[in-house]
């Protein structure tokens, strides 16, 4: 009996590589079932955090108010600038007869579970297919990109974080427009690979999604280059990026449906069908 179970476990590990539909269905069904339990269990931890937030001294609050006022003033300036640029952008698009910009739809969700493993970087959120979440949708926080949906149940979805070993995100350097791939490595600093050899990437450069591959909308803030290593000959070596997202503080996320068919197809789905649906499809492994 024991031997049979061990063999079954080994077979499951091998089958896992093929990503069979029934294993995914099992995952999503169980995730949906445990979602209310996880939500209930996370309440005490949340209450503790909220209590900690409440116990703030008057001086801390005063400093925070001052900082928020300064930020508000800055944002008002930016809003004016953005409105001007938006009007200019619309006018230029009209002159060039370019199509309208891609419109995105946002679905709010709460994080109810972590992977709880040193080898996996994923999260469980309390929004699923019933709220329109689909596999492949980008997930963002106020700070920037978090990851993408890899499994969708009825009431819950699993998000693969950009820091996970299996995550690959097409990005570009905002200032130079150089394209590259952001590769997770299960640490808080992700690697930037496949940059052009002529790239002038520097520490502090902002990294945004490039939109290539159709999985992520273009222009989503991802992170900032924190380290650039060069070889003795001056060639680019290891480049590390610190994501904008503070993994310890995020509680709520937004799932982005930017209504663009993905180039990576769901098994059994044709390119035409995917394009016709107008939804990104991904096999979960880009």
């Amino acid at each position: 009996m024991l031997l049979l179970l061990v063999v079954t476990a080994g077979a499951m590990m091998i089958l896992n590589r093929a990503d069979p539909a029934f294993l995914e269905r099992l995952r999503t069904t169980v995730s949906d079932t445990v979602t209310p339990i996880l939500e209930a269990l996370s309440k005490p931890a949340e209450a503790v955090r909220e209590a900690g937030d409440d116990i703030k001294t008057a001086s801390t609050l005063k400093k925070e108010v001052e900082s928020l006022r300064a930020e508000l003033s800055q944002l008002r300036t930016w809003r004016t600038r953005a409105q001007t640029l938006d009007a200019e952008n619309r006018e230029l698009r009209r002159l060039l007869q370019a199509g309208p910009p891609i419109e995105a739809r946002f679905i709010g969700a709460r994080i109810i579970g972590d992977s709880g493993s040193a080898f996996v970087r994923s999260m469980l959120i309390n929004a699923g297919a019933e709220r329109g979440v689909q596999k492949g949708f980008a997930v963002i926080s106020a700070a920037g990109l978090i990851g993408r949906v890899v499994e969708t149940g009825t009431h819950s979805s699993r998000v693969l974080l950009i820091t996970d070993l299996n995550s690959r995100v097409p990005v570009r350097i905002e200032s130079s427009r150089d394209r590259g791939i952001l590769a997770g490595n299960n640490s808080d600093l992700v690697r930037l690979i496949f940059l052009p050899v002529t790239s002038t990437v520097r520490t502090g450069d902002r990294i945004v999604t490039s939109g290539h591959g159709g999985v992520f909308p273009p222009g989503l803030p991802v992170g900032e280059v924190s380290e650039v290593k060069r070889t003795d000959e001056g060639h680019l070596g290891t480049i590390r990026v610190r994501p904008f997202v503070n993994w310890n503080q995020i509680e709520h996320v937004r799932v982005v449906d930017f209504k663009m068919p993905g180039l990576v197809l769901v098994p059994g789905q044709s390119q035409a069908a995917s394009a016709g649906k107008g939804k990104p499809g991904t096999s979960g492994k880009e």
Binding site: M1, L2, L5, V6, T8, A9, G10, A11, M12, M13, I14, L15, N16, R17, L23, L26, R27, V30, S31, V34, I37, L38, L41, S42, A45, E46, V48, R49, G52, I111, I112, G113, D114, S115, G116, S117, A118, F119, V120, S122, L124, E151, R158, L160, L165, N166, N185, N186, S187, W247, N248, E251
Partner: protein, 169 residues
């Protein structure tokens, strides 16, 4: 009849508590960096019950717990199943030694098992995903698990005392 139901519930306590710890590992705790090094609560419960009450967790139950852990943590299917079954086999094979010894011996046993599980899991991930991942978070998790074991064992001990005496396994 009520006695039978009560007995069945009592017999299911080790499984249900281990399942609870599987879920507990997936809870977000508002401590910076904790998500990377969450102690292996499920492993602690599995080790404890297999050591003190091996018959309460038959291999099929261990298999089910492994499946639940794989699903809740988002790990590759089979990883936790295989690790849990290996822990079950190892601890059960040493049942006579573990059962007759004091807590310090059990604690040391858990540390050895946790180290073996960490290394095996690390090797699995390297095989499944290709590149070798940084082992530091896993080692930090191992240390936290070893430190937390006495507390979890004490909690589980309270439940164990409420259960009927185990038959010799």
């Amino acid at each position: 009849m009520l006695y039978l139901i009560d007995n069945q519930i009592r017999r299911a306590v080790p499984f249900l508590l281990t399942l609870f710890f599987v879920l507990l590992e997936a809870i977000r705790v508002p401590v910076p960096g904790f998500y990377m090094v969450t102690p292996a609560f499920a492993l602690m419960a599995l080790f404890y019950w297999t050591a003190v009450r091996a018959r309460s967790l038959p291999p099929v139950a261990v298999f089910a717990l492994g499946v639940a852990a794989d699903i809740v943590t988002g790990s590759a299917f089979g990883t936790n199943v295989l690790l849990f079954l290996l822990v079950h086999v190892c601890v059960r094979s040493q049942g006579d030694i573990l059962e007759g010894n004091n807590f310090l011996f059990l604690w040391a046993g858990f540390c050895v098992v946790a180290l073996a599980v960490t290394l095996t899991n690390w090797a699995f991930e390297a095989v499944i995903n290709g590149p070798v991942v940084n082992p530091n978070p896993a080692l930090a998790r191992l240390v936290l698990s070893a430190i937390s074991y006495p507390l979890i064992a004490a909690v589980l001990g309270l439940f164990n005392r409420m259960l009927p005496k185990p038959m010799h396994s």
